[in-house]
């Protein structure tokens, strides 16, 4: 494998392969070759020498694939539908105030086989396995297992790290009496859509509201679809209905 500094990395998007295609990503390369009239071979190799090989029979003489960012739920194994983002520095909201922040959220990359207007999940990988980890929100007895990331607050959608993370906009609102710090946000990421353009990725918006429910102070988190001209990523995993978490106030 060539070193990362020598190659131009591939962009997200749809590729039509009539003969062969090489895709390069940080720490990983993919090679697709036509081996007979209606069969292609797929080879993925990473820096640690792990190799994934598949044969893909197709109806036509061409192979059409899509490379797109997907939700960070598969590495090291699919165990949860929730994401736990801990801010590197907490946000302090004074009484009856609101704020909009942008934070980085990890992504994985999915490969989809396009045929007869269907998209089938072919493979996935992460360019950042060292930072793809789990975390627990709540107590070990009754908490929720999540994909965990300690994330900086960034300036805008442009601040994503190509292939490593996407940017998520979070609208925060404090309806509680007094000021409160918000240091983390936990949400079912399975409900949050992803969009891509070239090598960048962004997520749907997430709204978090500090509010009082009868006597209980809670932090309600809801996803909201965004309007954008970026291409919407295909869902890699089967989308399931998951319950919303009631977060505690810090």
């Amino acid at each position: 494998m060539e070193s990362d500094s020598e190659v131009a990395f591939s962009k997200y998007g749809v590729y039509i392969i009539s003969d062969s295609l090489d895709l390069f990503f940080p720490g990983l390369e993919i090679k697709i070759d036509k081996i007979s009239d209606n069969v292609f071979s797929y080879l993925k190799k990473d820096l640690e020498g792990n190799v994934t090989e598949k044969k893909i029979p197709v109806k036509t003489s061409e192979l059409k694939i899509e490379v797109a960012p997907i939700r960070p739920l598969n590495y090291p194994a699919k165990r949860t539908n929730y994401c736990f983002l801990e801010f590197e520095s907490p946000v302090f909201l004074i009484e009856s105030s609101s704020a909009t922040i942008f934070v980085q959220c990890p992504i994985e990359i999915g490969l989809f086989l396009i045929h007869d207007s269907h998209k089938d999940s072919l493979d996935w990988f992460t360019c950042d396995p060292a930072n793809s980890r789990f975390g627990l929100y709540g107590t070990p007895e009754s908490g929720t297992l999540c994909k965990y990331s300690k994330t900086p607050i960034v300036g805008s959608y442009n601040d994503s790290l190509d292939y490593f993370n996407g940017v998520i906009k979070i609208n925060l609102k404090n309806e509680l009496p007094g000021g409160h710090s918000i240091s983390k946000i936990v949400f079912p990421i399975i409900d949050v859509g992803l969009y891509y353009k070239d090598t960048k990725a962004i997520f749907d918006t997430v709204s978090g509201t500090l509010k009082k429910k009868i006597t209980l102070e809670t932090f309600d988190v809801e996803p909201e679809a965004i309007q954008t001209d970026w291409t919407k990523s295909t869902d890699y995993e089967r989308v399931e209905v998951v319950k919303r978490l009631k977060m505690d106030v810090d």
């Binding site: 090291p76 627990l136 007895e141």
Partner: protein
């Protein structure tokens, strides 16, 4: 011919109103009952059970099956006009005798019912029975016994009574589990430096270890030859095999790479000078 045969059966009386014909009809009713019960259980198992929890589906399947059998039996007794009161009296006395003789069987049956009500573990749960030295996956809780598939692939049958009264450690009732291991470093080594090396190695090479709560390190003992550091890491409940057995290997490799000594037991012998 057939009518003559049936008339002969009807004329042959076994006991108080019970004829061979009524027994024959009873057998037909019971056979139909069994067929209907099996059909209903099959339909239930195929179309409805997959939507329910495994043990609930199994219990409901049994209730449907035996419920229909009991109804068929009641229809049979009703159609033959058999007076069961004598049978009940005899059965009562017989029951006492049988009860004494089959205490453990009845005990297992009752324990099975309580296990189904209490549900300390569900079908498919991983569990550990520390008193018996058994660990594995629960296959099912049936009328008299529990079957557990041990992690070595063998299946062990445990009488319900024993299972009900033993300590049961569920390995899957919480979302996460903790694994612990102890590693010793030489007295001359920097403890904080060694902990930092272990922490970095665990974060780097053990993807199933949770970052929140983060790995914890405690000085377990100032032992004879080493300072013993206890490593405590959390991981998803399903992934003990990816963490527990690998933790010491990761620790050993990391300490070796950092040049931190893991001492073996040493004893210094002082020999008295000969005068």
């Amino acid at each position: 011919m057939a009518i003559e045969f049936l008339e002969n059966l009807a004329s042959f009386e076994i006991t108080g109103g019970l004829t061979l014909l009524s027994l024959f009809i009873g057998a037909i009713i019971m056979a139909i009952g069994v067929i209907v019960a099996r059909t209903f259980r099959l339909i239930f198992t195929k179309y409805y059970a997959p939507k329910l929890e495994k043990d609930a589906a199994q219990n409901l399947g049994k209730i449907i099956y035996f419920g229909i059998i009991i109804i068929a039996f009641l229809v049979f007794t009703g159609s033959t006009g058999v007076d069961l009161s004598g049978l009940l009296v005899a059965g009562g006395i017989f029951g006492v005798v049988i009860g004494f003789a089959t205490q453990s069987v009845v005990s297992n049956l009752i324990s099975g019912i309580f296990l189904m009500i209490e549900k300390p573990v569900k079908q498919g749960d991983s569990l550990d029975l520390p008193d018996m030295g058994i660990d594995g996956t629960l296959i099912d809780i049936s009328t008299f016994s529990v079957r557990v598939r041990q992690f070595d692939g063998t299946i062990i049958r445990i009488p319900n009574e024993k299972f009900f009264t033993t300590n049961i450690r569920s390995l899957v009732s919480t979302p996460v589990r903790r694994s612990e291991n102890i590693v010793g470093i030489a007295y001359k080594e920097d403890i904080d430096g060694a902990i930092s090396v272990l922490d970095k190695a665990i974060r780097k090479s053990m993807p199933f270890v949770l970052l929140s709560p983060k790995p914890e390190f405690r000085i377990k003992e100032l032992a004879d030859s080493s300072v013993n550091i206890e490593m405590l890491v959390w991981h998803p409940r399903e992934d003990w095999g990816e963490v527990g057995p690998k933790l010491l290997k990761v620790a050993k490799n990391a300490l070796d790479e950092a040049g931190i000594e893991i001492p073996f037991p040493q004893r210094v012998l002082w020999q008295a000078k000969e005068s």
